[in-house]
């Protein structure tokens, strides 16, 4: 496909699963990527897109003690990020700080601000307060949800509240609602659960099989996109959660992750184990009323929601991140450690 060649590549040394946009860096388009190597020394790469936009270079390389299963950059401090790591037998989570003057050190070590130890099951992911400076963090492990209060200066983190999802549930990940900071969506085996952070109680759930990943629309309230193993992707309106408002076919094999564009609602990226990244344009209109109307008589000209399929990958893709600084740019990370940055500009301008 045409998109394949336009990407800018960057190789991590090892296999990798996670990449994150450095939101707090307003001067550069940067991404953080962490490797997943069982036996080798793992690394965190700070990758920066050159100002000309056609080259990726390594801004910093830091060793990380364990293989990284999840990585999230702090939204208010570009030097802080969180990882979820595995020692082979157990999982842990920690907040790290990139040392100052790292460029001058030979093998810069990450400063561990604090670890988020819960003594509970496998930690799955860390969620930062959606935007702005705030000390709240959420960690999700298999059974429960923890709300942490982080004090960077004192380098401590305390559990503010937590609750268990119940014995039979198996949380796998989640997303923090950018429009309602008291609400968090968590993915389970066969549903998406919504938690109210004030009470730490489950408020609602969407029945939905094999959810792998969810993401909220950034500009429109109440809309969430889910990626499912077997059956593609669904877009839900939380107010009418029985029925998805749209279904997208997803990938040939599992649809692994889904990311909504920070600026353009309806512009969705998905990545899957069939080694492709798909760019979708969900049928959306700015007005909710219009939306429902157009749903009623929707056999109007049907457009393929798939805008483009990027196929120039060698292995399954687990990592995907939009740049929040330049919202037409995204980075994808395939299992073989290759970071590819692409622009979707040609497809946005088409609209």
């Amino acid at each position: 496909m045409q998109g394949g060649s336009s990407g800018i590549g960057y190789g991590l040394k090892y296999q990798a699963r996670c990449i994150s946009d450095v939101k707090a860096d307003t001067d550069h388009t940067s991404f953080l990527a962490g490797t997943l190597s069982l036996k080798e020394e793992n690394e965190v790469h700070l990758i920066r897109l050159s100002s000309s936009g056609n080259e990726l270079f390594c801004e910093g390389l830091f060793s990380h003690p364990n293989e990284i299963w999840d990585l999230a950059s702090c939204p208010f401090d570009q030097r802080i990020f969180s990882t979820v790591y595995s020692t082979g037998e157990s999982y842990g989570a920690a907040i790290w700080q990139i040392p100052e003057l790292y460029g001058e050190l030979n093998s810069p070590q990450l400063e561990k601000i604090t670890s988020l130890d819960t003594n509970a099951g496998k930690t799955k992911c860390i969620l930062w307060w959606p935007s702005g400076r705030h000390d709240k963090l959420i960690s999700i492990d298999e059974e429960s949800l923890f709300l942490w209060s982080l004090d960077v200066s004192k380098k401590t983190a305390q559990v503010q509240s937590h609750n268990s999802a119940g014995m039979l549930h198996n949380l796998s990940g989640g997303a923090w609602d950018p429009h309602d900071v008291n609400s968090v969506a968590a993915t389970l085996e066969s549903s998406i659960q919504f938690w109210d952070l004030r009470t730490m109680k489950k408020t609602a759930s969407i029945e939905c099989a094999h959810v792998r990943n969810v993401d909220y629309y950034c500009k429109r309230k109440h809309i969430i996109v889910s990626a499912e193993h077997e059956s593609g992707m669904h877009i839900w309106d939380l107010r009418k959660a029985k029925v998805p408002i749209q279904e997208l076919p997803g990938h040939t094999h599992w649809t692994w992750t889904v990311k909504c564009n920070p600026e353009h609602d309806g512009l969705i990226l998905s990545a899957g184990t069939d080694s492709t990244v798909n760019l979708w344009l969900a049928s959306s209109s700015s007005n909710d009323e219009l939306k429902t109307e157009s749903q009623v008589d929707s056999p109007t000209p049907w457009v393929d929601p798939l805008l483009n399929s990027y196929t120039d990958y060698e292995d399954s893709i687990y990592g995907l991140a939009w740049s929040s600084r330049e919202p037409w740019i995204f980075a994808s990370l395939s299992y073989d450690g290759r970071v590819v940055v692409e622009t979707v500009k040609p497809f946005i301008s088409k609209k």
Partner: protein, 767 residues
């Protein structure tokens, strides 16, 4: 010479004119002056009254040459000579007349002198005759007066006699059934009865009224009796009317009777068509009834000439009723012959009635109703066909549901059913019934439209069977429910897929042919939107739907296996795995599922050509060029042999071409099974990547994969891709293993053999 004749004629005419003007009292007004004077009223006209000789001479002298003047002179001289002779003749003639007139006057004078005396005598005689006649007249006057009086009395007496005789006479008339006379008598007597009925002729009046009442009664009886001839009945009606009898009542009554007779003419389609003999007893009975009705109508019209409107309504109601019954009948699933039978009966009825009631425009009415009926029939034919197909797909008598049978049945129903339906409908076109000939073009359109609609609905129905997956709404539930629910089990989906392919590839072309040969040229709407049946569109639809189904089938099968795999790979703690003792039992379940799939597939899909696809890669793919890092990593493993073994697989991969994994699913057994296997193995790889293994865990996976290799090879069409994926699983496990030391081949073999032996044993025990 023509030129000479005209002036000669002119001359004679002028002469006559001149002469007559001479004799006529007013010279300015000659008899034909209007004509001639206007013609010659020029200055040089010698004949005009305003002739001026000097001017004439001047004109002549200036206009003509000498020769012309000379000639004119000669002409003039001759003309003057002629005039002279004519004048002499006239004088002579008039003189003669004058002499004879004098003679006549002389004779008259002598005759008149004797006449006066004769006249006086005549007057005298006439006077005496007159006086005599007067005397006779006066003497006879009295007698004449008397006679006249007598005559008047006699007349009066005769009249009275007539009145007194009237009851008897009426009675006699009644006896002899001369009702017309009776009525005439009675109406004649009526004024008298009116004037004197209350006094002198009271008895007489009563008697005659009684008689008339009897007559009226008789007339009514006559009117209502069907046995009487129509004329007599009509006469009776007329007579009743003359008697000032309230006929409207009678009319209403008679009309009611007519209506009653109508209810007897009830169309019974079953009986029309069940009879084996050609003019079935019902049909003939029906026809007789209709004929009777027609006769009745005819009579009615004669009797009450202003009753058309009611009759028209009645007849139209009858026709409408017929069609209502027909429509009911159509709902009962009939063949076109039956429909034709019914329509034929109706049409014959209509024609019969049309003879007597042309105002009702029954044929038109009937054509309109028949349009509805035929359209209904066409749509019912297709809806029945749709029902048949659904039935054949969902037929489940007993627990056994053979996919093969279902597929056979459904393809057969689709093809034969639709062809039969078309043949059946074609009978309607072939029929020469006048009614249907008018509908022919419309029928063709309806059939085409119907067919188009049918396929559209069939598609919807198939989608419905597949678990409502077109309404994306409930798909997730549909999928989960699909496992228990009887609607969308994978086998059915597969049947649907193959059925769609069959429709696209076989049925549609065949039907298109049929349409082209029998239903072409329906054209009422051909100009605005083209023929209603668009095979291309249908084909496209079914192709995509078929692919969708096939895909869905693969997905459903994969999902079942996926659940199994998920359980297998997420449950155990791989880091603390024990040393492998035997091939894990999930392999059996996995193979069992695949077995189920392939047995289903074998029932339905054709066998494909076995081939190894290693060619062009346009689909998405997974790396086959392996990462040098991996080898490096493996290089460090402890056991030399094991390492070299792994290295081998890696190196082998290096030299293989990039293998396609996700290829398009085709309608063959192998392609479907292969797709399922590929998707499952890919899932295994992904599951493995999410775990961390110790050495034993790795060895367990190695063992299981090794065991799977052979049976899978049997099933799969694309061995290269399968091998590649199995290798990928091992590589992925090795990558996720803390201590990737493979099992020694002898141990591997031993364990596999043990497993095989055990399976064999089970197989010999179980069946």
């Amino acid at each position: 010479m023509g030129t000479d004749e005209v002036p000669l004629d002119d001359k004679a005419k002028r002469m006559r004119d001149l002469l007559s003007s001479f004799y006529s009292p007013d010279p300015s007004m000659p008899p034909n002056s209007g004509n001639s004077s206007s013609k010659y009223a020029t200055l040089d006209d010698i004949n005009s009254t305003s002739f001026d000789p000097d001017q004439y001479m001047n004109i002549l002298a200036t206009k003509s040459n000498l020769e012309g003047l000379l000639q004119r002179h000669v002409e003039m001289a001759a003309e003057i000579k002629n005039l002279d002779t004519d004048l002499q003749m006239l004088v002579y003639e008039n003189y003669n007349k004058f002499i004879s007139a004098t003679d006549t006057i002389k004779r008259m004078k002598s005759n008149i002198s004797g006449m006066e005396t004769n006249m006086e005598q005549l007057l005298e005689k006439i006077m005496s005759v007159q006086s005599r006649s007067d005397t006779v007249n006066t003497s006879l006057f009295e007698k004449r007066e008397h006679i006249e009086k007598l005559h008047r009395t006699c007349n009066l007496l005769r009249k009275v006699q007539f009145i007194y005789d009237l009851p008897d006479r009426l009675g006699k008339c009644t006896k002899s059934e001369a009702y017309a006379d009776a009525v005439r008598f009675y109406t004649g007597a009526m004024p008298i009865f009116k004037a004197y009925g209350d006094s002198s002729f009271q008895d007489c009046k009563r008697a005659s009224e009684e008689a008339i009442a009897i007559i009226i009664k008789n007339l009514q009886v006559k009117l209502f009796s069907d046995s009487e001839s129509m004329q007599t009945r009509a006469e009776a009606a007329v007579l009743l009317k003359q008697l000032d009898f309230p006929v409207e009542n009678l009319k209403a009554k008679l009309f009611e009777k007519l209506e009653q007779s109508l209810t007897d003419i009830k169309l019974n389609p079953e009986e029309i068509n069940t009879a084996s003999v050609d003019p079935s007893p019902f049909a003939s009975a029906h026809e007789a009834a209709v004929r009777e009705f027609v006769e009745a109508v005819r009579a009615f019209r004669v009797i009450f000439p202003e009753s058309e409107k009611q009759l028209v309504k009645l007849a139209q109601d009858l026709v409408t009723k017929h069609y209502v019954i027909t429509q009911e009948y159509i709902k009962k699933r009939i063949c076109s012959a039956d429909l034709l039978g019914v329509l034929r009966v109706i049409w014959s009825d209509v024609l019969l009635m049309d003879e007597v009631l042309q105002e009702a425009s029954l044929p038109h009415h009937s054509v309109e109703a028949a349009k509805v009926a035929v359209k209904l029939y066409v749509s019912s034919v297709f809806s029945h066909l749709l029902q048949d197909i659904s039935d054949s797909l969902l037929k489940k008598d007993g627990a056994e549901y053979s996919l093969e049978v279902a597929l056979d049945a459904s393809t057969k129903v689709v093809l034969e059913g639709s062809i039969n339906a078309l043949l059946d409908l074609h009978k309607i076109l072939d029929d020469d019934l006048g009614l249907l000939i008018r509908l022919r073009e419309l029928t063709i359109d309806w059939v085409q439209e119907g067919l188009q609609d049918f396929f559209r609905q069939l598609e919807d129905r198939l989608l419905l069977f597949s678990g409502r997956n077109n309404s994306s709404a409930i798909q997730d539930h549909g999928l989960t429910e699909g496992f228990q629910g009887d609607k969308a089990f994978p086998g059915l989906i597969l049947v649907l897929a193959q059925l769609s392919a069959f429709i696209e590839q076989t049925a549609i072309p065949r039907i298109t042919e049929e349409i082209a040969s029998s239903f072409s040229g329906g054209s009422v709407r051909i100009h605005d939107s083209g023929p209603a049946f668009v095979p291309g569109e249908i084909c496209r639809k079914f192709r995509s739907v078929g692919e969708k189904f096939l895909h869905l089938y693969v997905n459903m099968r994969t999902q079942r296996i996926s659940l199994l795999l998920k359980k297998r790979f997420t449950t155990p703690n791989w880091v603390k795995h024990k040393e492998p003792r035997e091939v894990h039992m999930f392999v059996d379940l996995f193979l069992q599922e695949l077995e189920d799939t392939s047995s289903e597939v074998k029932q339905i899909l054709p066998q494909g050509i076995r081939r190894h696809r290693r060619t062009d890669s346009n689909g998405s793919s997974v790396s086959s060029r392996s990462n040098p890092l991996r080898e490096e990593k493996l290089g460090r493993s402890n056991t030399q042999r094991a390492r070299s073994q792994l290295l081998e697989t890696h190196l082998a991969k290096l030299f293989k071409q990039k293998v396609e994994i996700f290829t398009k699913v085709e309608y063959t057994q192998e392609s479907v099974v292969t797709s399922v296997v590929k998707l499952c193995l890919k899932s295994v790889q992904e599951f493995v990547r999410l775990q961390t293994f110790n050495r034993s865990g790795f060895q367990q996976i190695q063992l299981d994969v090794q065991f799977l290799r052979t049976p899978l090879r049997e099933m799969v069409e694309d061995e290269a891709a399968m091998d590649f994926l199995l290798d990928e699983v091992i590589v992925a496990t090795a990558e996720r293993c803390l201590d990737p030391i493979p099992l020694e081949p002898p141990i591997l073999d031993k364990l596999i053999l043990a497993k095989l032996a055990k399976t064999r044993e089970q197989n010999t025990v179980s069946p």
